[in-house]
């Protein structure tokens, strides 16, 4: 059964390229949303296996969304993505409940698989 992924990012060009990459690598994209509130709603509606979550969102930030999603043990695996580096966010990356962090420019089937492994 293919892994279902929700893409959360407010930049349409990144969502498009991420969808293309994921689908080519055999994932199924359960949805694409731009904001924190939509992300929470889409997770409860579509129950994806993985959430690819941008850190900076127009109505909140990825750390808070990740923390909220990780409170549910049966919830999705959260992978944070950002055009900044993990170091730019200090301790927040490790403390928010996300499985891992991938710098957007290094996003590939391989880098994603190594976080999910």
């Amino acid at each position: 059964m293919p892994i279902r992924v929700l893409i959360v990012d407010d930049h349409p060009e990144f969502r498009a390229v991420a969808r293309e990459l994921l689908e080519e690598a055999g994932y199924v994209v359960s949805g694409e949303v731009a904001g924190a509130r939509e992300a929470i709603a889409s997770v409860s509606a579509e129950t994806p296996d993985v959430v690819l979550l941008d850190v900076v969102l127009p109505d909140g930030n990825g750390f808070d969304v990740a923390a909220q999603l990780s409170r549910d043990p049966s919830g999705p695996v959260v992978v944070l993505v950002s055009s900044r580096e993990a170091e730019d966010y200090g301790q927040r990356v490790s403390g928010c409940g996300a499985r891992g962090f991938v710098s957007k420019s290094r996003l590939s089937a391989t880098s994603l698989a190594s976080v999910l492994a």
Binding site: E13, F14, V56, S83, D88, Y89, G90, Q91, S105, S108
Partner: protein
């Protein structure tokens, strides 16, 4: 010249407002009443005491003419003086006059109580004072009317229910009420004497001390009358009445004292002319005896500032008086002071005349301080505006170019995965170059505005900066809490500049960043073990940082020497 905000309207000249004719009236009435008393066998001593008190009260009232603020006390004094004579109408055997005298007996004492408890501006001191005054009027003359209705005396023209027992009871109730009123009055006076300070005390103490001494003997016979029903002996009554004369005496003494102060003013001129410390305001406050005095300099644009150039308000409210100090038509400054100083116009006037010379200098100094404060505020605003702009640029970079380049980078990676090995190799190289460019772009963005600092504070941001630095950096100390954004940014940027200089020029093996927050000051020290040679040049990066630090009222210093390396030390007041 001098102008004053006076809460009491000026006298308009009517008899009621400015009772110049009361004195001759009191003299004539006194002579008539006294003659009648002599004719009906009243003791000469009693007549003399009453006339002296009456004329003393009216005379004291006349002496205070020309004092707008004392208008109501003057009226009360004159009224009390006339009421002394009105009470003495009882000396007449004519029924109508006798009854009028009975009703008005001791009403003068209530008026004196009101005078004391509303001195000097005519407003009663407190709610308790108002109650005391009201009870006084209940004892006399309202109680006097009650007596007139029940008295058994054959001279009474108003008696509707002649009853000896009712008359006695009313007499004792009035005496008890009168005793309570005087007790409360003395209590209020003593309390006020103890709480008044400065100019107010100076202006009021004489009358208050007079009041403290004037009432006790009257209280003695009132208490006795309330308990036993016995009227005071002629002698006791005369002596106690004479003692009330201490109140108009106190009133006159207060006037005399303030006239005396006028001559003292000339000595103070010398003190005022001595320029220098302490501030002119403090000297004026001492000279005028008003510790609450505030001095506000008027700037050309009409705003007022204090000695230190901070904006000052010139309040237009009761309890404060404003005296404007001017040269020609130009207002130089405003004195905000206790309104009792208006009772000493000569003193204020001589201070005004003397202060003029000193004032011009002090006002110039205050203007310079105000301009300095303005420049500092505008510098701080410029820094804040600059920071806001940097933050916006960083966000634009992140949301715009960076996002598109990131998408291109991912696309290149995907293309490489699909291409044949030769093309894939080229595409991967392009992707690597692009990633390198993105990393440089991120570094640039961090230099413009550090997101981590904004999100996580100084400790986290400096830790990351230390990790990224091209030489080993040790961080000593931590802040543990968030500081104002401008402080955090200044500390961050100066550390970054210092570490960049160390890495580029110092040839150091390591650098140390020391953070300390003590007594509301953040101290940031960046030191290295390099070859020294760093200095603050007008166009250098450190000079720009010094401007930023000084805009926050902080200091930045650089010590650099080949033996000990370079130390950059910044102290930033951070309020907590």
């Amino acid at each position: 010249m001098i102008s004053s905000a006076d809460p009491v309207p000026a006298p308009t000249g009517s008899l009621l407002r400015d009772p110049v004719l009361v004195l001759p009236l009191a003299v004539v009435l006194g002579l008539v009443v006294g003659w009648e008393g002599l004719r009906t066998g009243v003791s000469g001593a009693v007549i003399a005491v009453d006339l002296a008190l009456s004329w003393g009260l009216v005379g004291a009232s006349m002496l205070a003419s020309g004092r707008a603020r004392w208008r109501r006390p003057r009226l009360l004094l004159a009224l009390a003086g006339l009421l002394v004579l009105a009470g003495d109408l009882q000396w007449s055997s004519a029924p109508g006059l006798w009854t009028a005298g009975l009703i008005l007996e001791l009403a003068w004492l209530t008026v004196v109580v009101q005078l004391v408890l509303s001195f000097p501006d005519g407003r009663s001191w407190s709610a308790l004072a108002l109650v005391t005054i009201s009870l006084g009027y209940l004892a006399a003359p309202v109680g006097g009317l009650a007596s007139a209705l029940v008295t058994t005396d054959s001279r009474d023209a108003l008696s509707i229910l002649s009853s000896q027992s009712a008359e006695d009871t009313i007499g004792r109730i009035r005496a008890a009420l009168g005793f309570a009123v005087l007790l409360a009055t003395v209590g209020l006076v003593v309390w006020r004497l103890a709480s008044l300070r400065g100019a107010s005390r100076r202006a009021q103490a004489q009358l208050l001390i007079g009041a403290t001494l004037a009432f006790p003997l009257t209280m003695v016979w009132l208490a006795r009358q309330a308990l036993t029903g016995e009227s005071p002996s002629t002698a006791l009554s005369a002596v106690s009445t004479a003692l009330i004369g201490l109140i108009p005496l106190g009133f006159v003494a207060a006037i005399g004292w303030s006239r005396l102060r006028r001559t003292q003013a000339s000595d103070l001129v010398v003190e005022l002319r001595t320029a220098g410390e302490p501030m002119l305001r403090d000297r004026l406050a001492r000279v005028l005896g008003d510790p609450t005095l505030a001095l506000a300099y008027r700037l050309d644009d009409g705003r007022y500032v204090d000695d230190s150039g901070q904006p000052a308000s010139v309040p237009d409210r009761p309890g404060r008086a404003v005296t404007l100090l001017s040269a020609g038509d130009e207002v130089l400054a405003a004195l905000v002071h206790d309104p009792v100083l208006l009772d000493e116009p000569a003193l204020v006037e001589s201070v005004r005349a003397t202060a003029g010379l000193v004032l011009e200098n002090e006002r110039l100094a205050a203007r310079v301080r105000a301009q300095l404060a303005e420049v500092r505020a505008s510098r701080a605003r410029l820094v804040t505006a600059g920071d806001e702009e940097r933050r916006r640029i960083e966000r634009d970079l992140h949301d715009g170019a960076q996002q598109r380049l990131v998408a291109v980078c991912v696309t290149l990676g995907m293309a490489a995965g699909r291409a044949d090995p030769t093309l894939a190799e080229t595409l991967r190289r392009a992707q690597d170059d692009l990633e390198q460019a993105l990393a440089e772009l991120r570094a640039l963005a961090r230099g413009i505005h550090p997101t981590l600092l904004h999100e996580e504070g100084l400790d986290a941001a400096l830790e990351t900066m230390a990790r990224r630095a091209p030489l080993p950096v040790i961080i000593e100390g931590a802040i543990g809490s968030r500081l104002p954004a401008a402080i955090e940014l200044a500390a961050y940027f100066l550390t970054m500049e210092a570490l960049t200089n160390t890495a580029k020029h110092a040839g150091a093996s390591k650098a140390t960043v020391h953070l300390q927050q003590v007594n509301g000051t953040l101290t940031v020290t960046v030191s290295d073990d390099g070859i020294g040679g760093a200095e603050l040049t007008p166009t250098g990066g450190l000079a720009g940082l010094r401007d930023r630090v000084e805009a926050l009222d902080g200091t930045l210093n650089v010590h650099s020497d080949p033996a000990t390396g370079t130390t950059v030390l910044a102290e930033l007041p951070c309020g907590s």
